[in-house]
């Protein structure tokens, strides 16, 4: 079956611009997660959604970052007024529940010039 998909695969933007990254989770998965991976580093948790509960935003690095999940499916991660330090690969994952295996998408590589 279809896995997690993300778009765009690559995004180059100028400092100060806003960007939106999209994630389509695996159908039927109630939990959705966003992580960030800087070059040669491990994954850093950003935010996660579980069903209709309020999202856990504890990993968001600043108020320039926000995310929403519409209809319990597709999610959008928005970064406002991008900075060069925001350059990274943004990875989305989904799982059946919050204590089951998370399956990752291919990621969006964001480059802020």
């Amino acid at each position: 079956g279809a896995g997690v998909s993300q778009s765009p695969s690559n995004k180059v933007t100028e400092k100060g611009k806003d960007v939106e990254l999209r994630c389509d989770p695996i159908s039927g998965h109630t939990a959705l997660y966003w992580y960030r991976q800087s070059l040669g580093q491990g994954l850093e948790f950003l935010i996660y959604f579980q069903g209709n509960s309020a999202p856990d935003k504890s990993g968001l690095p600043s108020d320039r970052f926000s995310a929403e999940r519409t209809g319990g499916s597709v999610s959008t991660l928005t970064i406002q007024r991008t900075q060069q330090e925001d350059s990274a690969v943004y990875l989305c994952a989904s799982s059946l529940g919050e204590d089951t295996a998370q399956y990752f998408g291919p990621g969006t590589r964001l480059t802020v010039l």
């Binding site: 939990a31 997660y33 996660y48 504890s58 204590d99 295996a101 998370q102 990752f104």
Partner: protein, 114 residues
């Protein structure tokens, strides 16, 4: 703060040999662990998971061992193949107020020599 870490950043093995990748975790309350494989330019790929009520779990060519006494996790790959070359991450389920996310180590790069 508490985190998951790896003992070795790089591991080089001969094709056909067995590989062992190690991981230490610091939170004794952690109850769920996962190993991921990440190839260059791709997202992490789920390999195997284990819950804290188990000591060992086997998959296809892979075995995960959990030693709760010393808070140690290992991934064993049997008959390592060139296609196993990748970065391997262990991760533990978040704790405290954030129990859904995973906490990742920095990864071990596995290189398989033909």
């Amino acid at each position: 703060g508490e985190s998951v870490g790896l003992h070795l950043p790089t591991l080089s093995v001969q094709e056909g040999d067995n590989s062992i990748i190690n991981c230490a975790y610091s939170n004794s309350a952690s109850d769920y662990f996962i190993w991921y494989k990440q190839e260059s330019g791709k997202g992490p790929q789920f390999i195997i998971d284990i819950r804290s009520n188990m000591d060992k779990r086997q998959g296809q060519r892979v075995t995960v061992l959990l030693n709760k006494t010393v808070k140690h996790l290992s991934l064993q790959i049997a008959a390592t193949q060139p296609g196993d070359s990748a970065v391997y991450f262990c991760a533990e389920r978040g704790y405290g107020g954030s129990q859904g996310n995973l906490i990742f180590g920095k990864g071990t790069k596995l290189s398989v020599k033909p």
